[in-house]
Subunit: 243 residues, 2 copies
Amino acid sequence: MRYELYYWPHIPGRGEFIRLALEEGGADYVDVARLPEQQGGGRAAVQRMLEAKSGGRPPFAPPILKAGRLVICQTANILQYVGPRLGLVPKAAAARLWAHQLQLLVADLLVEAHDTHHPIAKSLYYEDQKAESLRRAENFRSLRLPKYLGYFERVLGENPGGDGGFVGSSLSYVDLSVFHLMAGLDYAFPRTMARLKPAHPKLTALCERVPERPRIAAYLASPRRMPFNQHGLFRHYPELDGE
Amino acid sequence: MRYELYYWPHIPGRGEFIRLALEEGGADYVDVARLPEQQGGGRAAVQRMLEAKSGGRPPFAPPILKAGRLVICQTANILQYVGPRLGLVPKAAAARLWAHQLQLLVADLLVEAHDTHHPIAKSLYYEDQKAESLRRAENFRSLRLPKYLGYFERVLGENPGGDGGFVGSSLSYVDLSVFHLMAGLDYAFPRTMARLKPAHPKLTALCERVPERPRIAAYLASPRRMPFNQHGLFRHYPELDGE
């Protein structure tokens, strides 16, 4: 099966969590919006999917994965679907529920990280909500982020699978997502992360191991991997990163 | 199987989405934290679950559902688990993915509704983030809420099942959740909702049908159903409801 991913082509965004799973799983996929426009790519490709006749199941927002006749949205839902097909989650139903539960927590943290620079409205520029951003980011750095990272560290320590990953005894899509999440946080909040990481050695070690996997290493070195930038979920505004 | 639900006992909150599914499905369940403290209830019951040895799968936050040896978190994940067991979602895998996708959108909207009164920090009082709330609520009323409601109306109109629900041809847990979501929005934003509802007749009709179902009617009339209040996800601050 050739998967088709539809996501805004100018940012890693939520699409990146899907890409990492597809890459590690060796999937046959097309990142449609990153094709040249004359080959049907660009933002227009995403727009077409949002406006297409949907057979009663219209997408609300990208990422959108087309898998044969299925059209699936919501990052965690897509990963739940492709995970078993790519060998990125254990077979047991309980382990799959658990992996999905962790992925939903990644999604929660993503929203909070995004809202540090857009606490009032997605439709306004950062500059028009900067005062509010300063307040929200302070709370994120001092309370919310440590709470999430502490939880992730605890889960890695308690996993009876014991290979240093989040779920079971081999790599899962959750590991890939948390690796990317931490990379985004490093980009957006370098000072804060430098301060927090020493207290989270298992999480830090996971983030060093993931990019050494051959397929991930090849992907990260390729033009398919986009750098973080100031239009995405994670943005680096030094004033939001504290002292 | 007797399910055990753990959720803060003083607000409907996210627990309510689970309760509605358990009630409509005729499940045998205990709402543990709503038992008297001397019977093991109260906030302490939730706290105990958060701190208990977890077999490597610790909960991050309530709602928490105990189903035999399974401990499941994240509202949408819990509904995905109980839905098929309670006959609240079709059998086909594609329909289940779709129901879950819609439930994740309900979760997204919930966060946005909550953040209208807490745009800066969960750890601060509303009064300490009121100026920011006024700005965020204005954007929510004028852009975000209409976008979500318009999408829900579209989905109801396009469902080939055609019984007036979101998924397939009979009631699903998504219908129950959207009913409760709309009730919460009616509580928090009565003026805004009175303005928006006429343009969303299918959504409005769904919200009138759900509480007429015998089990839901009995539940809503019982002391098990908590009223909305000013400590929950949905709060009524008239100044956030616009002109």
